[in-house]
Symmetry: C2
Subunit: 311 residues, 2 copies
């Protein structure tokens, strides 16, 4: 029997799924994180091999026609030394010859639509938009990382929440819902005279991306606090601009939204959908489905069954 | 003979100056850095004591009427444990009873004007504005540090230079003067395909504040490259807004500009002066003179000779 494997290789978990040509799930597998930016390359490559082995246990490897690995941090494989470690590990695992790495954003795009062209907009801790042509990301907008960009991301929203709280403490006016919850989250008594300095110290006392921990407080305060509303509006505007930068002016292809910040019922997600309302805006589905479908298209052609049921 | 001492305690050097009541310089001293944010408190306190000892060598300590220490990172002394280390070290040095710490911004304000009230705007690697009343900074605007703010600072300008370069590399259009010099500074060949990723890696490979190393490239490119002009204009706008946030709407007191970004002949310094042209805008002089003058006012009264010759 011919089959394909899709893999979603993330920061904390790697999942694999084996699919027959008719879409039947033949097996699933799971292993630890495989983002080569946060794990040693050998460990990341081995986690993918472990998940693939589990998903294909009991299947004849001769039937494996394609394996697509959607990977967070896939850009790291432009480093030849890193790519070599992956290639060798996967050859030893018996799937190196049919394996192909795509970015997690490409897998997410494919999870949402059978269309080959469009835009993917990702906003989790970081943010990036990709121009998709023939299911590959041919260029990006944003994606500079927290130090240089990530506008509208969870990091950015969390940082704005802390900045707004420092502004309020500087002014000495009564604190709103957002500032109050930011100080509570940081474990700081709003009435103590050193609250301003303690908040700066708390924010600088953890890795910068951990500022994203304050982002949910902005969503929670959006109906009560004009400061939260301002941050959410600004994030939606920045993310929309990032998405449009990755598109031609008259492009009518779908836009696929990915990540917690852009969830369908989140304040930023709702506002981005409103701003893009003339376009076909879709939420991403599970990345492992997108990767499996990309593998199916590769092995069985354009008319492979899309995981969302689209032909 | 009665005299006073002023100290400028900076990140890399500490300087002290002893002044007689008539402004005569009685002695000078120098020691290593004394910023308690970048040095252990005991070492910072000892550096100040060493500089004071050198400036007062041969003078009768009974004549010392006041000692004002202008200190970068003075906010650290709101920590009682740190303050205690300074107090003990300076008592042992024989000037603890007459010593008083002010911020480097307060010393800089006093170095420029004999007026008791006004605004100080600082832009070096970081940025902050202070509202000065009776020569003390009674509140600040900005000063959140590089992670949360520092708008218009050398860090901010350098980061914008890198971002603009990444934008240009993303667009794939011809690189302007600024982008070309940023890549040269980072040691990256503009024609290599991985230039975009290598610049992100280079920026993240050093402490974030080191992004300030790209700021001079913006000044250098300002006449040739609209991107550099845009960054300089934006920095000037942000710094002006920070300064005005620290002022009352109808305030007519002086504004003292401090730091390399605001130098009289720098592109940002010129633009900030233009934006504030209705006000009395002054450049700061040497912080050690400001500290010495604050000490003289404390010991000899409001009519002590100002180091710039103002009564």
């Amino acid at each position: 029997m011919m089959y394909v494997v899709g893999v979603d290789a993330g920061g904390t978990t790697t999942r694999a799924r084996a699919l027959a040509a008719d879409g039947t799930v033949l097996g699933t597998g799971r292993a630890g994180g495989a983002n080569p930016n946060s794990h040693p390359p050998a460990q990341a490559a081995a986690a993918v091999a472990e998940a693939v082995a589990a998903a294909t246990a009991g299947l004849d490897r001769a039937g494996l026609r394609a394996c697509v690995v959607g990977m967070a941090g896939a850009g790291k494989l432009t480093d030849p030394a890193v790519a070599d470690i992956f290639r060798r590990t996967w050859r030893e695992g018996g799937f190196g010859d049919v394996a192909r790495v795509v970015s997690d954003a490409e897998a997410a795009f494919a999870s949402a639509t059978a269309e080959p062209d469009g835009t993917v907009l990702v906003a989790g801790t970081g943010s990036i938009a990709g121009r998709i042509r023939k299911r590959r990301m041919v260029s990006v907008a944003g994606g500079y990382g927290w130090l240089l960009g990530d506008e509208g991301s969870g990091f950015w929203i969390g940082r704005e929440a802390v900045r707004a709280t420092l502004d309020a403490l500087s002014r000495g006016t009564a604190l709103g819902t957002l500032a109050t919850s930011v100080l509570a989250q940081a474990g700081i008594d709003p009435d103590e005279p050193r609250a301003f300095h303690r908040l700066i110290t708390a924010a600088n006392g953890e890795p910068p991306v951990r500022l994203a921990r304050f982002a949910p407080l902005v969503s929670a305060a959006v109906d009560d606090d004009p400061e939260a509303e301002r941050i959410v509006e600004q994030a939606a505007g920045l993310l929309t601009r990032t998405a449009l930068t990755a598109r031609d002016v008259d492009e009518s292809t779908p836009v696929v939204l990915v990540g917690s910040v852009l969830a369908e019922d989140s304040p930023v997600g709702i506002r981005v959908r409103t701003r893009l309302s003339g376009l076909d805006v879709l939420g991403s589905s599970d990345g492992v489905l997108g990767a499996a479908w990309l593998a199916a298209v590769e092995a069985f052609g354009e008319h492979a069954l899309h995981p969302k049921g689209v032909l």
